[in-house]
Structure formats: structure tokens, C-alpha cells
Symmetry: C2
Subunit: 313 residues, 2 copies
Amino acid sequence: MNKVTIADVALAAGVSKGAVSYALNGKPGISEETRDRVLKVAEELGWRPNPHARSLSSSRASAVGIILARDPKHLHSDTFFNAFFAGVEAVLGQRSHALVLQIVETAEAEIDGYRRLATERRVDGVIVADLVASDPRIPLLIELNLPAVTLNRPKGESPFAAICSDEVTGISKIVEHLVQLGHQNIAHVSGPLAMTHSGTRLQAWRDALAAHALPADTWIESDFTAAGGASATSELLSQDDPPTAIVYANDVMAIAGIARARALGISVPRDLSITGYDDSELSQYMYPPLTTVATDPYLWGRKAAAKLLDIID
Amino acid sequence: MNKVTIADVALAAGVSKGAVSYALNGKPGISEETRDRVLKVAEELGWRPNPHARSLSSSRASAVGIILARDPKHLHSDTFFNAFFAGVEAVLGQRSHALVLQIVETAEAEIDGYRRLATERRVDGVIVADLVASDPRIPLLIELNLPAVTLNRPKGESPFAAICSDEVTGISKIVEHLVQLGHQNIAHVSGPLAMTHSGTRLQAWRDALAAHALPADTWIESDFTAAGGASATSELLSQDDPPTAIVYANDVMAIAGIARARALGISVPRDLSITGYDDSELSQYMYPPLTTVATDPYLWGRKAAAKLLDIID
DNA sequence: CATTCCAACTGAACCGGTTCAGTTACCACG
DNA sequence: CGTGGTAACTGAACCGGTTCAGTTGGAATG
């Protein structure tokens, strides 16, 4: 059990506590020679900083927070965040910060969570995901004076850095691909439109179709779940003039869509082309392999974390 | 910005800092009357405990840790942990603890992580997942004197509480079901056998077959990924006497297995029955719906967290 | 040679709690 | 009425860092 404090290091190195603190934090006011000696002694003694003591006196927590408001049953099919967290962690670990994660069930609980993280000073900043239109978290974070980065840019004004993914190009390429295959009747199944990125993908789909003078009126708002994808598919395929291709806003809905189409006796891909979005591992092992848009949540996590730490410093 | 300390509360309530501390923590040495007054004043002033100060003096972190060693690309298809985290969080939130999550790439980094969490006192205890045979983390945690609970019971001796899932019954029922359908040649695709629960599922499959006097020699060790599931499926189906049913150790491999079988021109479920394990949302929206074993990671998370907090207290 | 200046370092206060050794005041008991 | 005991409360030390106001010694300056 390690109990080496800077007082021990100071004693062993023959300097004062203050000097040790300066030396260990690379601050001026210490000669190179002394600094090296202190560093060596600290290493030998196996000194580890006590983050609580550090936080208490410097009021920096050396941790960042992520709060997710999710219905537990929807979490079960979410493949994005594991990899995203891994990316965040990769950066935080290097720069010796911790990740404080909260998963809550309601938006109100999320608000509460930010309040607590901020007033208790548990984190130095947060990463905000799942933006919605006129997101209440933006003014809240301003009020709390809590540094933040957002995943994608919110609709309105926002003083926070945004790490964006290029949804438009991905969807455009997909539509392009389908048009090339000869499709004229291309539908879309979106995520909840309250989420900004669902809106972005929907608009990208519209624009891409418009560019080819094709109608963009066949689409359904869904919810990113397998259940939602399946029922949207049923609805689309039971129309008078059913689409010959469906662009889903994520892979889970697309995979459920394939199954539903088959259940309805429609051959995929002969009678119906289906595309996803996310590049989940599973999509490549579907039959036929799902055409999808590669996203890189791991990289996104890295970028978001790096940006946030830069802001905090 | 909240900056109310117990000193402020003490002043406002006309008592000493110490008395306030006793009052707020429900400790003896304070009259009911004074306690109520202090509580009321603290409430009015909007006092929030500073967890760093508390941790520093009491050396309790009010946080628990989970470290996952995962290849980032494998994470992408993992549906277990999101829900698990949510369950953990649900309990931690209630009892005002935080979750410190680390996702690392190698087992060594994981060991390092536990060392850091312990020596830096960032957490009061940890939840250990993905047990392997003679897991090095068990002696490590003993050495670090860090309270822990394990998900499932490790093979060897372990002083830690284990939260177990009943894998045996699930697999047995699945095999039972297949035998009832008339299958005689039932194969198994397992996870990495280094992981104890893979071994458990394999053994359960063996035992269930033995109970019906059926041979249990057709199985392949895989890795829980779609790629692994697909290639194991190819291998099994290209045998001289291919199985008529395959019991996969998780849903992702099973879903990839369905696709692969189809790609090989084998009709599912007419020529081949496929079962999974996990009850991922997607499995119910496959065509045909995947027969699978329901697991409840959310509940498991709740149980693990509750147990750990009980131990810590 | 006296003065100035600065880098290097010390000592102590401080962050916001917990905890423990004392101090009071009140009551019971012989 | 003196003694003892105890519940209620105080004051100060302490946890392990950071930070700031001083102190010191030596080089540069005039």
C-alpha cells in the first residue's frame, strides 16, 4: 500500500514541500539540478499524486464527465458508445485524467447530473452527445461555467467547441450509389428528428435526391431501434408504390429492415436495396453485406477528448 | 456558482464546523434539535459536499471503478456493457457514488489501471469482468487491498463476492428445444475459452447433449465477433456431416452465422437451426427471429453495484 | 565596495471536509 | 451537597497537495 506523500519526498530530497510541488509540476522557481533530484527521489520512493488533495487545493478535478440519457432497453442495441468511450479513454489516460460516466434515464436526471458534476467539482469539463433542437443543456452549461465540447454543432448559438462528423457526404455517396444502380424511388428511415443529427441526415438525403431531380417525399421518422426499423419498413413496403431502395439512418434499423423485407417475401437485394449508417461490424457479415457509411466513433472520441482537454488547460 | 462550505453552514447555524459535520453525516453526538436546524440551514444555503475534501480526509473516494481491456474494433459490436453500465449507474447514482470507467487495449494496461486507481485512491472498489483462467487480477486486487466483486466466479480461489449469471440453465433449455425439434447433430461455437464463461457455456452444451445421449464433439472456439462467427459457420457447414443446428455463444456470432449460411445456399431455419445467447434487441427482429437466451445486463449491473457498495460500507 | 536584482528556495496558509481530545452543562446518585 | 457520568458541543489537528509572501545568496551594476 502506497502512502508516499510530497512531504516524504521533500524530506528525502532535502528540500521543502513547496519546492517538491514546483519540481513535480514543471513550474519555474527551481533549478534544473534540484528538479532532477526531486524527480529521481519521487520515482524511487514510488510517489503517486493524490488526486483528491490536488483537486482540493487547485480546484481542478483531473476528470471529465459524460452523461447519457437513455432508456435502458434502447442501450442494448447501441454500438456507438463503447468505441467512443474507448477513444475518449485513450486520450484521457495519456493525459492522466479520469472519465466519469453517468447513464441516466431521463433528460431531467441528466440536467441534474451536470449540476452535480459542476457544483461538486467532480469534473473539469464534459462531452455532450445527442444534441436536440434548442438543447437546454447549452444554457445550463453556460450557467454552470463548465467547459464542454459537443458532438456535432447544435442548432442555435453555442459558445462550445463542436466535434463534427460529416454526415452529409456519407449520405450523399450512398444515394449516389443507389441512383447509379438505377433506383428512382428511394425512401428514408430517419432517427428521432428531435436529435439534430437525424435532421442532418434527412436533409442530406433530400438534397442528394434533389440533385438528381428525384422526389424526396417518402420517408418515415423512426427511433434507431430494431423495432422501429422493422415497423417503418413494413409501412414503406405496404405503400401503393413501394420504394426500391431504403436509406436507413443507422445499421440496426437497416438490419432489422432486411429481415422484415424478407419476412414480407421481398428479396433483398433483388427487389429492394437497403443501406445503413454506422459501419457496425455486423453489417459486413450480413448477407448480402450491408452497404453502409463508415463512421469512426473511436477517432471521434479521441478528437472530442483531446479538444476538451485543450480547452481546459 | 456554489461555494457554500460547512464553515458557512456552521456560522449560520451558530455551531462549530465539527458539529455540522456530525449533523450532516448522521453521527451521534448531536441533539435531534440541533441536527434539524443544521440540516435546514444547509438546505437553505444550498450546501453541497465537496467530494474531494471528503475523500482527502476520510480516504473514501465515493466512486467505483470498472476497467475493460478491449480491442477497440471488438468493442464496436459489444452490446453487453452499455446496459450493464446503466444498471451499475442506477445504483451508484442513488447512493451518490460516481463511476470511473477505463477502457484500455491490453491486459497489462488494465493491471496498471487497477494499480493507479488503488494508489491514487480514486475508487473505493472495482467490478471485474471478463474473468480468465487463473486471472492475474485476483491476486493483484488482494495485494492492493481493493474491494471488488467479480462477474461470475473465477476458477480458482477468490476472496471476492461473485455476481453470477446462470449460463447453464439457459444453454440447457436451448439444447432441449433443439432436441425436441428433432435435431441430432448439434454443434457449438464458443467464445474464447480463456474466458471462464465461454468454458461454462461449452460445458453446459456438452452436458445437455450428454443428457440425451447425443455426441458433443462438433464445436469450434471463436471470439464473440461477427467475423469469428461467420468463419466458424463456414467451417462447420463444410464438414462431411454438417450439423443441422448450431448453438452460438452470443447473438452477434449467431446473426453473422445466419447470413453466412444463407450465403452458402443453406436455408435457415429449414436446413439449419441457429440459436444465440444474449437476447440482443436485434435478435427478435431477425427473420426468422433468433432463438436466444435472455440475459439481463441491466439487472446484473444493478446487482454487482449494490453488492460492491454493501461490501465497501 | 555598496547597492540592486533575481533566481532559488522556505514556511505557512489554505482548500473543505473528518475526527479526536477536551470542555461544558446537566442530571442522577449516595 | 459533593461526586461521577454522560450527552452535547468546541477547537484544533489532519488529510496531501498548491500557492504566495518572504528570505537568502550570489552575480551584476555603478
